[in-house]
C-alpha cells in the first residue's frame, strides 16, 4: 500500500521535477556562459568548469538568500529580520496568486484569459480612487476600495465574455488588445486632475488614506501585509466555486464541451460572461491589494508584469487553485531572489523570466521532457489542449 502510493506520488512529481531541473540547468548555463570571468578561463577546461559552476552556484545561492532567509540580516538586525526575503516573496506572490487564479478559472471554462494585466490595472485604479478620495471608517474603507476595484475590473473582464458570446470573437485577441488599451488608459488617468497628486507633475496618484490600507502582519520593518490572507481566501473560494457549486459545474461543462453543455440547456453566453466577470474581479482584487497593501499609491507601472506572469503561474499550477498558489509563491521567490542576485552577484534579475518561461515550456510539453529523458508514455492527462482561433 505504502509503496504503491509512494510510487504514485513519485510518478506525479516526476515530470514537473524533471522540468524544473532542466529549466534551472539551462538557466545556469546561460548565467555561467555570459560571465566574462568564466569565459576568460576557456583555455583550461578544468578551471573553466570550476569557475562556471561557482558562478552559477553563487547566483542560485543569492537567489535563495533573497527569497527565503538571509543569515546576514539576522546579524545586522535581529533574527526575525532574517525572514525579510520570505516576506518579500510573499508580498510579490500575493497579487500573483490573485491574477493567477483569474487565468486558472478562465482555463476551467475553456477560456484563455490573457487580460489579467488590464483587469489588474482597472482594479488598481478603482481601489486607488476610493482609497484617496473618500474618508471612511477603518475596515469599511478597505472593503469599499477593494470592491470598487473589483467592480471596475469585473466590468472590464466581463465585457470580454459578453463580446465573445455575442460575436464569437476570440478572447485571446480581445484580451491582448484590451491590455494595451488599459495600459494607455492608466497613463491618461494619471494625467487627469482627479488623479494628479497635488504638487507633482509625474504620473503618480495621491496615497490612499491610512484607513484604506491593509494592515502589516509583522511590524513596520517587513512589508508582508494582510493581502496574503485575501489571496488564500480567494483560492479557497475558486476551489469551492468549481467543485461544489452549480455555477462551477456549468463553468466546467462549458469548458470541457461547450456544444454539449449548450445542447443540454446550459446558457453558454451566461457562462462566458460570468466567468470573465469573476476572472476580472479576481485580477482586479490583485490590483486593489497591490495598491492597498504594498504600493499605497497608483503609478503608471503599478501592474508591473503581474498580469502576464499570471499566465505562467496558472499554467504551472495546472489551472488548479492550490497549484496556482504554489506556483505564485515559487515565482514570487524567483522575483524577490532575483533582486538580491542582481545586487550581490551582478547577474541581472531578468534571468528569472528565462527560468520561468523554460519551466512553463517544459511543463506544457510533457512529450518533450519524456523525449529528452527517454521516459515511457504514462497515462497522465494531456496538457491544455489547443483549439485554434475558430474553436
Amino acid at each position: 500500500m505504502m509503496r504503491n502510493s509512494l510510487s504514485k506520488f513519485g510518478q506525479a512529481i516526476k515530470l514537473p521535477g524533471l522540468s524544473f531541473g532542466l529549466a534551472f540547468t539551462l538557466t545556469g548555463f546561460i548565467i555561467a556562459f555570459s560571465d566574462s570571468k568564466v569565459l576568460s578561463k576557456i583555455g583550461s577546461p578544468l578551471e573553466f568548469i570550476k569557475s562556471a559552476g561557482a558562478t552559477a552556484g553563487n547566483a542560485y545561492l543569492a537567489l535563495f538568500q533573497g527569497s527565503i532567509f538571509d543569515i546576514n540580516l539576522t546579524k545586522s538586525h535581529n533574527f526575525f529580520q532574517g525572514f525579510y526575503p520570505l516576506s518579500e516573496t510573499i508580498v510579490i506572490a500575493t497579487p500573483l496568486i490573485l491574477t493567477g487564479l483569474s487565468v486558472a478559472l478562465a482555463f476551467k471554462s475553456g477560456l484563455f484569459n490573457i487580460g489579467a494585466q488590464g483587469q489588474f490595472i482597472f482594479g488598481a485604479i478603482g481601489a486607488s480612487y476610493v482609497g484617496f478620495h473618500f474618508h471612511l471608517p477603518l475596515v469599511i474603507h478597505v472593503i469599499a476600495a477593494a470592491l470598487a476595484g473589483m467592480a471596475l475590473a469585473s466590468i472590464w473582464g466581463g465585457a470580454v465574455g459578453l463580446l465573445k458570446a455575442k460575436t464569437g470573437a476570440h478572447e485571446v485577441i480581445l484580451t491582448i488588445m484590451m491590455n494595451y488599451i488599459a495600459g494607455y488608459f492608466i497613463l491618461w488617468t494619471l494625467k487627469t486632475s482627479q488623479f494628479l497628486r497635488p504638487g507633482r507633475i509625474d504620473p503618480i496618484a495621491p496615497e490612499v488614506n491610512q484607513s484604506a490600507r491593509l494592515p502589516l502582519l509583522a511590524g513596520a520593518n517587513l512589508r508582508i501585509h494582510a493581502g496574503i490572507f485575501i489571496a488564500l481566501a480567494a483560492a479557497l473560494f475558486v476551489w469551492w466555486l468549481l467543485t461544489k457549486t452549480t455555477i462551477g459545474y456549468k463553468f466546467r461543462a462549458v469548458g470541457a464541451n461547450g456544444q454539449a453543455a449548450k445542447t443540454a440547456g446550459i446558457s453558454v453566453p451566461f457562462v462566458l460572461t460570468a466567468t470573465m466577470a469573476i476572472c476580472g474581479a479576481l485580477a482586479g482584487l490583485g490590483g486593489a491589494v497591490q495598491v492597498l497593501g504594498s504600493e499605497h499609491a497608483l503609478n503608471a507601472d503599478i501592474a508591473g508584469s503581474f498580469g502576464f506572469d499570471a499566465i505562467t503561474v496558472a499554467l504551472l499550477g495546472r489551472a488548479q487553485p492550490l497549484g496556482t498558489v504554489f506556483a505564485a509563491l515559487l515565482f514570487g521567490a524567483l522575483h524577490a531572489g532575483g533582486r538580491t542576485m542582481q545586487s550581490n552577484t551582478g547577474v541581472p534579475l531578468d534571468i528569472v523570466l528565462v527560468t520561468q518561461a523554460l519551466i512553463v515550456l517544459f511543463i506544457a510539453a510533457p512529450t518533450f521532457v519524456r523525449f529528452i529523458f527517454r521516459l515511457k508514455k504514462l497515462n497522465s492527462s494531456a496538457g491544455l489542449t489547443s483549439k485554434g482561433w475558430n474553436g
Binding site: I30, S34, D35, F112, I114, L163, K166, T167, G168, A169, H170, V172, I173, L174, I176, M177, M178, Y180, I181, Y184, F185, L187, W188, K191, F308, I311, T312, L315, V347, P348, D350, I351, V352, L353, V354, T355, Q356, A357, L358, V360, L361, A364, A365, T367, F368, F371, G383, L384, T385, S386, K387, G388, W389, N390, G391
Partner: protein, 420 residues
C-alpha cells in the same frame, strides 16, 4: 427582403450604419459645433523631389466641410451599394479617408501639417508591423498560430544589432537577423508540430523567453561593453533615380533604406506565391484541411515546419529594421509590443497579405499622426490615439465591419489517423 437578415448581412449593415454615423458626426462636430477658427496648412514637400504643389492653405472649417462632404457622399454610395448587395469596401474606405482628413484639418487649425512627412513616417512605423504580419500570415495560413511574432522581432533586432556592432558591417547584421528569427521559429515549430503543445501558450512563453534573454544579455553585455557590443552602424537611404523625384510618392516609397525595399519585394512575392504557385496552393490546403492534403500525398507537418521557419526568416528582417535599419543601437524591449500589433494587423486584414499591409499602414498612420499632432502642439490626449490599432482590431474581430474567418485548421496540430 427576408424577415431575418443573415449575420453577414447584419455585419455589412452595421458597417454601413457606423460609417454613415461617423461621417455625419464629423461633418456636424468638426464643421459646425466646434469648427477650427484658423487656417490649416498642408505641406507636400519633404526632400528634393519635384514640386507639384508646395503647400495648400485652407480655412479649417471649409476644409472640414469638404472632406466630411466627401465622406458623406461615400457613405451614401455605401448605402446604395449595400442595398444592391455589392461590395462596400471601396466607398467605406473613401469615407474613412474623408473622416480622417476632416479630423486632421480640424485638429491642426492654425498649424502646419507636413502631409508627405506624415505619410512617410507612417510607412516607416509600419515596416516592422508588415514584416511581422507577413510572418504571422505564412504561419497561420499553414495552420500554425504565431503569437511569437514579438519574440521573433525582438530576438532578431538584438542579434542584428550585436552582430553589426561586432563586425562593424550593416550587412552582417542584416544576414544574422533572419537566422535569429528562424531560431525562434524553430522552437515554435518543434514544440507546436512535433510535440503538439498548445500554440497560443507556446507563443506566449516564447515571447517571455526572448524578453528575459534579451533583457538579461542587454544588462550583462550591451550596457557594460557598449562600445564593442552596441554600436551598430545603419544603412543609408537609397534614392531610386527618377522614382524618388515623384512628388509626394517619391519621398514616401522610393527614398528608403534597403530594408524597406526588401519589404516591398517580400510582400509582392508572398502575394504572388500564396495564390499562384504550387507552394501557395499546398500552404493554403494544409491550413484549411490538413487531412485532405495528406491524402493527396502532401507531408503536412514537414511543410508546416518549413513555412514556420520561412516566417521566422521574414520576421527576422523586420527585427533588423529596428537596429541596422534605423537607429543602430539595441534598446531594452525596443519592439514594445509591435509583434502584437502585427498580429492585430493580420487579423484586421483578414489573413490576406494585402489586407494585412493596409492594416499595418493604417496602424502606422494612427501612431504617427499622434506623434505629429503632439509635436505641432495639438492638445489631444495622445493615449487615445495610441489605442487606435487595438480598438480597430476589436472592432474587426467582433464583426462590426465584415466577416473575419481564420484558416479552418489554424492552431490545430495535425496527427494522422486520429479516427479509426
Amino acid at each position: 427582403m427576408s424577415e431575418i437578415r443573415s449575420s453577414v448581412e447584419k455585419r455589412r449593415l452595421r458597417g454601413v450604419v457606423v460609417i454613415t454615423l461617423l461621417s455625419s458626426l464629423s461633418f456636424l462636430y468638426f464643421g459646425f459645433i466646434s469648427p477650427g477658427k484658423n487656417k490649416t496648412t498642408f505641406g507636400f514637400v519633404l526632400n528634393n523631389e519635384w514640386v507639384l504643389i508646395k503647400e495648400w492653405i485652407i480655412a479649417s472649417a471649409t476644409g472640414v466641410k469638404i472632406f466630411s462632404g466627401i465622406s458623406l457622399v461615400a457613405s451614401v454610395l455605401a448605402i446604395l451599394a449595400y442595398r444592391k448587395r455589392r461590395q462596400i469596401v471601396f466607398p467605406v474606405g473613401v469615407a474613412t479617408f474623408g473622416i480622417l482628413m476632416s479630423f486632421i484639418t480640424w485638429a491642426a487649425s492654425g498649424k502646419f501639417i507636413p502631409l508627405t512627412g506624415l505619410l512617410q513616417g507612417a510607412l516607416l512605423l509600419a515596416v516592422p508591423l508588415i514584416f511581422g504580419s507577413m510572418s504571422g500570415l505564412i504561419c497561420e495560413r499553414s495552420g500554425v498560430i504565431n503569437i511569437a511574432i514579438e519574440g521573433q522581432l525582438l530576438a532578431s533586432a538584438f542579434v542584428s544589432g550585436v552582430v553589426a556592432s561586432l563586425t562593424h558591417k550593416t550587412i552582417w547584421g542584416l544576414i544574422a537577423a533572419p537566422i535569429a528569427g528562424a531560431a525562434i521559429s524553430f522552437l515554435l515549430a518543434t514544440f507546436a508540430i512535433k510535440f503538439s503543445v498548445d500554440q497560443v501558450i507556446l507563443g506566449f512563453v516564447l515571447n517571455v523567453l526572448v524578453i528575459g534573454l534579451t533583457d538579461f544579455l542587454y544588462k550583462k553585455l550591451l550596457v557594460p561593453y557598449q562600445s564593442t557590443w552596441n554600436t551598430a552602424p545603419t544603412f543609408g537611404k537609397i534614392e531610386l533615380p527618377v522614382l524618388s523625384k515623384i512628388p509626394v510618392l517619391g519621398p514616401i516609397f522610393f527614398s528608403q533604406s534597403i530594408v524597406v525595399y526588401i519589404m516591398f519585394a517580400i510582400v509582392a512575392s508572398i502575394t504572388f506565391a500564396l495564390f499562384k504557385t504550387k507552394w501557395g496552393l499546398r500552404t493554403r490546403a494544409i491550413g484549411e484541411h490538413p487531412t485532405a492534403a495528406d491524402t493527396v500525398g502532401i507531408d503536412v507537418n514537414k511543410l508546416r515546419f518549413k513555412n514556420v521557419i520561412i516566417a521566422g526568416l521574414i520576421a527576422g528582417v523586420g527585427g533588423a529594421y529596428y537596429t541596422v535599419g534605423s537607429v543602430g543601437a539595441f534598446g531594452k524591449e525596443m519592439t514594445a509590443g509591435a509583434g502584437f500589433i502585427a498580429l492585430a494587423a493580420l487579423i484586421f486584414g483578414k489573413w490576406s497579405p494585402i489586407g494585412a499591409v493596409f492594416a499595418a499602414l493604417l496602424f502606422g498612420f494612427a501612431d504617427n499622426l499622434q506623434s505629429t499632432l503632439t509635436i505641432i502642439g495639438v492638445s489631444i490626449p495622445s493615449e487615445f490615439m495610441l489605442m487606435v490599432p487595438y480598438i480597430a482590431t476589436i472592432i474587426a474581430v467582433t464583426g462590426l465591419v465584415g466577416r473575419v474567418r481564420a484558416p479552418a485548421a489554424d492552431g490545430v496540430p495535425y496527427l494522422r489517423g486520429g479516427a479509426h
